[in-house]
Symmetry: C2
């Protein structure tokens, strides 16, 4: 009982209603993205996920990946998954038709990503990173490089990787030491990279490594890093594959989770230097990297959503089957879903997931406006919004995934601790998401420093204004279902406003404040953002019911999960605010020796 | 870098100051328990833990236990650990001299248990369950049975187990099916038990299984269960070992954590029936079981403390060694302990651990008063207090351990996800603690139903009164360090009071309310109890500094961790209260099909 069935109705609701697909399909070039087409795309994705990806999730965990003779041997069945994925045309989903892509909205690609990550997170990392690498090449590489690499990556014939981390350079990329020596029209790359996801595999002919390295004349620190394409096999002028390049996987890590995703130590240049090609300008690697990273941060936030959904489905199935104890108003022994505390856990999962989905999809929709809106004004609005929300999507959704995947174990009782049950795998897999692509602390500092303090809170004020508008709509309703929203939501938005004011007023007088309060600020913001989208969902559902929509039970359910969110998630906002307003004092007071 | 060093100073502070050893050593029979002796005992325990138990913690995780030919083969080295543990006389620590015990306070046994569990949780489960079984035998068995079994268990020559769970009977023990047929002076036991911790091992000559089973004439449900002693080897009249009894381990589970603790499926009576001896009256097994369970619940709460301490030490060591990035006021690259967000995580761990330790030790001290106080009044007061606090110790400490052991991973960044680092083991090991010996939900319902509603809040009022007294002491201080206590602590105690009032006023009108609000009520109570003990610790430390005690830095540190607790843990109380006061409405509103 650990199948995954993509939740098509919930996904479609979030696409159509919260992220407003009808507006996106009015953008130039996106006219084909009609609700009918998108529903068909989601159905097709669900079919592949449910039938092909998901069945290898548990076996992949058990088998894992290994390195034999400097080659990664993926878990059994993963080559077949990849081939089915490629043949379905999925790698091409969001890319422009001019490069062989399908030109569908990022919103839809994000929904598809939710489905892949839930079905098989270890596998889905491979296309996720390929897409991120392709986006970076598309944004920064020369036309000549694009012509060689992009079509093959978009078709899925080749995969891509991101090579940032070195053992001394984790969150601190300024410490990157990998060297790039110019030689003719290319560079010779040498050094060792760690934590390289899908650094090697045997199911595509070639792999395109994007590598951060330092030129000989590079200034020290973060502004001396450049980005290079280093293909596993060199590409001849006619597009055929040439020699094996001097880059190899040394080993894969033995990890807590995502066992089937080979996390490689990669060695560049052991035999003279790996041939690489500069992407963008020298020393501008950090900007190119941010293109990849922002893309990947949204995608990792989605992983938080996905693994929570997977854990929820498994817990729900168990709760509907497992008989234990008695319940009020029920004869004899009952299935445990009847017990209020089990229901509380399932509701935390369900409503948390719906809030995350809303936030992820609305953020992804901003990407479509950024790329395709007709006016610079709208592009700028969405750039501002996407920049503000990205660290929240990444950090809040993944932190919430820790809580929810742990509840998934808890619902199972003792069986949750037994690996065969499968609940523990989701809990283990989830654990990486708050760490990679920038830890929660790094995201929170990005939010507080670059996204709130730097523009003196302007982007935040714009968002708060929208949140207040939703509050006004709710206050105007005379509906019992919105009572807790009328108090808790309005208060929570004010709480976020207070925290923002506090931050802007205190960051200069207390230089340790931004770093000290960042994570609580981010958690506060994520919680309130979730409330904003749950409030919107409830308003939409309420209107659907009022206007006689079919499937009233579905919309009533949306109102209940929203109400639960207002009752049980929004009150956390006060606790986060209190921690923020406590500042850095008691955090910084101990000497190192007093720890 | 995953050594464990027992934190002797913090432990001694909690024993002497918070749990007030000086009062316990005035109890009849406890006069030997002077601070000097106890400090020496703790030092000796620390030596064994640091030198013998802890070095096998990681290897035990890697090797695990297995069943070969119906025998459990423990991980390498575990027999040696057990022998050293037994030779040190540790199993005898809290038992009365009349049975060969050392007669030391339960308070001290709890401190020792903290050390064992932190050093090697998989191992420490073995003596922990033996002690629980011995306590139950001591409380309920006939003198004849006691004479046969107790001295060997107290000396550590034999170990003990608790056999409660069956596949259809987990939280719901009323569903136990294992049968006990009378035959002469004994019973023939047959059935299968699951999740039996240390159900078998090869390092003692005998194992004493305590088994819940049903007599032929037993009424249905929980009042038809009896408790039996079923030895692995029968015991002859002269005390020598006789035939192998008909009880065998079938297999061990493949678990998320505590790999070196063999979690057995035990089969009774495959060859005609395992010989067992009734403990206590027929059909009174559930009462006998509660003796074991209450003991084990305190001990599992301590595991939450222990595994958090272990995770903290590892994270702290890493934070002091790992160089990454730059920090305010520091030249060049710094160790990550300088970063405010890392410090925030370490402080959450450190102050959460100190609060848990206070709560566990103060609760354990109540056991000493229950058993040895000179007046029935004092015994009754402490019985009431211990009953009230036990579910909180068990559930809150283990829930907090989830958060803190996860932070332990997070402090390590990417290295935390790599199994070789060791942080992930603590995170995995911790995960069982909210499940076994009664899940968090079960504890919370015990608290709400049996400990608060049943006595109309009397025990809670007595506790709140003590908490208010501490508040008054704090308010009377003119000391900057107590400002956040003066607001947050006073408010948090009132919050617990409000939740109690709400519960007592609403449980009758809404029959689903107790089950729905129980976990939030328990978390609220745990958080406030932690605040109460941190406030006491700060008051004591402040007085020590004022009276010119040595080691001012240590006491100043106590004040900082207490202040951090007031700043960052106590504000959570409001969020829990809001969830409690939301009642069952949005938790119960969905139909099963709407999930």
């Amino acid at each position: 009982m650990n199948d995954y069935i993509a939740p098509g109705k919930d996904i479609t609701f979030a696409i159509n209603e919260l992220a407003e697909l009808n507006k996106i399909s009015k953008l130039p070039g996106k006219e084909d993205a009609t609700p009918d087409l998108i529903e068909a795309v989601i159905e097709e994705a669900a079919r592949l996920a449910n039938g092909v990806l998901s069945p290898h999730n548990k076996s992949g965990d058990e088998i894992g990946a290994k390195v034999v003779d400097k080659k990664v041997v993926p878990a059994d069945g993963f080559a077949d998954i990849y081939n089915a994925f490629r043949e379905g045309g999925w790698p091409a989903l969001p890319f422009g038709p001019e490069r062989g892509g399908q030109g569908l909205p990022e919103l839809v690609a994000t929904a598809a990503n939710e489905i892949w990550q839930a079905a098989n997170m270890s596998f889905a990392l491979c296309p996720m990173l390929t897409e991120g690498a392709a986006v970076a090449i598309d944004a920064h590489a020369s036309e000549a490089l694009k012509e060689i690499y992009l079509p093959k990556m978009i078709s899925g014939e080749w995969t891509g990787t991101m090579n940032l981390t070195e053992s001394q350079a984790g969150s601190d990329l300024a410490a990157v030491k990998t060297r790039a020596e110019p030689e003719g029209d290319h560079y010779l790359i040498s050094g060792q990279k760690i934590f390289i996801t899908w650094g090697d595999q045997d199911f595509t002919e070639n792999i395109v490594h994007l590598v951060l390295a330092r030129l000989p004349d590079a200034p020290q620190g973060i502004k001396g890093i450049s980005l290079f394409i280093v293909p596993k096999y060199l590409v001849n002028d006619d597009g055929s594959l040439g020699e094996r390049n001097d880059v190899y996987p040394v080993s894969v890590e033995h990890k807590l989770g995502i066992h089937a995703s080979p996390t490689c130590i990669m060695s560049y240049g052991d035999n003279g230097g790996a041939i690489g090609y500069l992407v963008g300008e020298p020393h501008s690697g950090i900007n190119c990297m941010f293109t990849m990273m922002n893309h990947a941060r949204l995608a990792v936030g989605v992983q938080g959503l996905s693994i929570s959904e997977r854990a929820y489905q498994q817990a729900l199935n168990y709760a509907k089957e497992r008989t234990q104890g008695q319940a009020l108003g029920q004869k004899g022994r009952v299935t445990i879903i009847h017990h209020p505390d089990v229901r509380r856990m399932l509701m935390l999962m369900k409503s948390g997931i719906e809030a995350m989905r809303g936030l992820c999809y609305v953020s992804a929709a901003s990407l479509d406006y950024i790329h395709h809106a007709e006016t610079d004004d709208i592009k700028a609005q969405h750039s501002e919004r996407f920049a503000l929300l990205t660290p929240v999507v990444k950090a809040w959704c993944t932190e919430l995934a820790q809580e929810l995947s742990s509840l998934g174990v808890q619902v199972h009782g003792g069986m949750g601790f037994i690996e065969e049950t499968g609940a523990a795998q989701h809990f283990r897999d989830a654990r990486i998401t708050t760490i990679y692509e920038g830890t929660t602390g790094i995201q929170a500092q990005d939010l507080v420093g670059r996204k709130v303090i730097r523009d003196s809170g302007k982007a935040m004020k714009d968002l708060l204004e929208e949140m207040h508008q939703v509050g006004k709509e709710i206050v105007s309703l005379d509906n019992d279902n919105f009572v807790s929203f009328q108090s808790n939501y309005i208060k929570a938005v004010q709480t976020l406003e207070k925290a923002t004011t506090w931050l802007l007023e205190n960051y200069q007088s207390d230089a340790n404040a931004p770093g000290s309060v960042a994570v609580n600020f981010m958690m506060l913001m994520g919680t309130v953002c979730g409330g904003w989208l749950m409030a919107r969902a409830a308003l939409i559902a309420s209107a659907k019911i009022d206007t006689g929509a079919d499937d009233v039970e579905f919309y009533k359910g949306k109102i209940v999960t929203a109400r639960f969110y207002a009752d049980h998630f929004l009150p956390r906002a006060d606790a986060y605010l209190a921690s923020v307003m406590a500042g850095s004092e008691s955090i910084m007071a101990l000497s190192n020796d007093q720890f």
